[in-house]
Assembly symmetry: C2
């Protein structure tokens, strides 16, 4: 049993910044601290894996890391020898279905929890770090065998969290309405707390310690309580209490 | 074998109009033509069924129709004796899961296709009239046993279709990007054409004849072709070719 080390980004791109740019210093600190030299990239949230790798590789190369694509080899072997894992954004349903199809869900979880392999997720890659993908914004273009995900943290994430636009004439549900609807489900359903990560915010996790980082605040939805604003720098460790113990049972 | 009669609304509310108001004359014409006096309302897309019924009933009462709530009785019996069915909007995943849980998916389909029971859907209720819910905008707050839906029409629907805002600073996918991503899936996946219904547009179907109605144009996504604008009044019957024949096989 090791400490999970996670860096969960709301998105790869933020208005006014290049690809992964707003999170560059957090990513570098995270990888350096864990003495990583090669990152295993998981492009399964996109349809074209090679194109996605070609976009990600130069960014990490510039920072001094090597990048392997999980699709370039036997994916199970690649995860087994990974020094660090980066799961990119795209479609959460496609990502999770592909991980199940390739028998990677339990394996990635074991690598993170038992071997302490550092995990970076962005958008869909952050969504699947949660217990379930019930709070993704993505279109359900494929049907995964379950909505249960990697369960690396004890609450769900809504990435790309968007505040309600008071001037909007659109009548589809707002983001807050959708999350509150989730929390209004009858008790028969498993419902998790939800951290809404605005584009530009990210969550750093080390064992049972969690802190909000990045350049944007987040919004926390605890079932039965009013939503709370979470400022950059806020310690969120209380959300992780007993996480290691509970996870040991679930593994 | 009868002719399916459908009225599929993008949404119940449109900016500047009351609940169902923009579609009032189409709904009344549709129900009168089919000599309906009582409408069976399906509120399963919402959590609070009674509250939803209390919102819908006065509107139909004002128009001269009685409304029964499917949840007030044995739902299978209610569908078996329904003169017309109205499935309201809300969460598409919750709606479809509830229909499966209560063994109503095949039954509603049979009532529409074999007995010609008129079907009105709005938003989520329109989504489930399609072969699958792969193109809903809703948050997947519950896990249905399948994404396959009522299959009353041979293509999928994206309700509340939203044009890309060129001034947006948000980096989440646009609606068009999401639908094109669905169409870029590998051939192993079943992929349907998608009709994007802007809020205020609706689709009237009578057998193999379909026409766009309402107060807003729609956007049609045929796999492998550029998206097309569809003006109110456009005959869409070509999308239904061989629908009855194919449906007979599937029933």
């Amino acid at each position: 049993m090791s400490r999970p080390r996670l860096l969960l980004l709301s998105s790869s791109v933020v208005h006014g910044h290049g690809f992964l740019e707003y999170a560059a210093s957090d990513i570098n600190t995270f990888l350096n601290k864990n003495r990583v030299s090669t990152v295993l990239f998981v492009p399964y949230a996109a349809v074209d894996h090679d194109a996605y790798l070609a976009k990600v590789r130069p960014v990490f190369t510039k920072w001094g890391y090597q990048v392997e694509g999980i699709h370039q080899d036997n994916p199970v072997d690649a995860v087994k020898r990974a020094e660090a894992i980066f799961v990119g954004g795209g479609n959460t349903f496609l990502l999770l279905k592909t991980l199940y199809d390739k028998n990677l869900v339990k394996l990635i979880r074991e690598r993170v929890f038992e071997d302490g392999v550092p995990y970076i997720g962005s958008s869909a890659g952050t969504n699947i770090a949660a217990p379930s993908i019930h709070n993704t914004n993505d279109m359900p273009i494929v049907y995964p065998p379950s909505f249960n995900a990697l369960n690396l943290i004890p609450f769900n994430i809504n990435p790309h969290y968007l505040d309600t636009d008071p001037n909007s004439t659109h009548k589809g549900e707002t983001r807050e309405e959708r999350i509150l609807q989730y929390h209004s489900l009858p008790d028969a359903y498993d419902v998790y707390n939800v951290l809404g990560l605005r584009e530009g915010s990210l969550l750093l996790v080390d064992g049972e310690m969690g802190v909000l980082k990045g350049i944007k605040n987040a919004r926390l939805f605890i079932k039965g309580k009013p939503p709370q604003e979470i400022e950059v720098g806020t310690d969120l460790s209380h959300l992780f209490a007993n996480q290691l113990k509970a996870s040991a049972v679930r593994l």
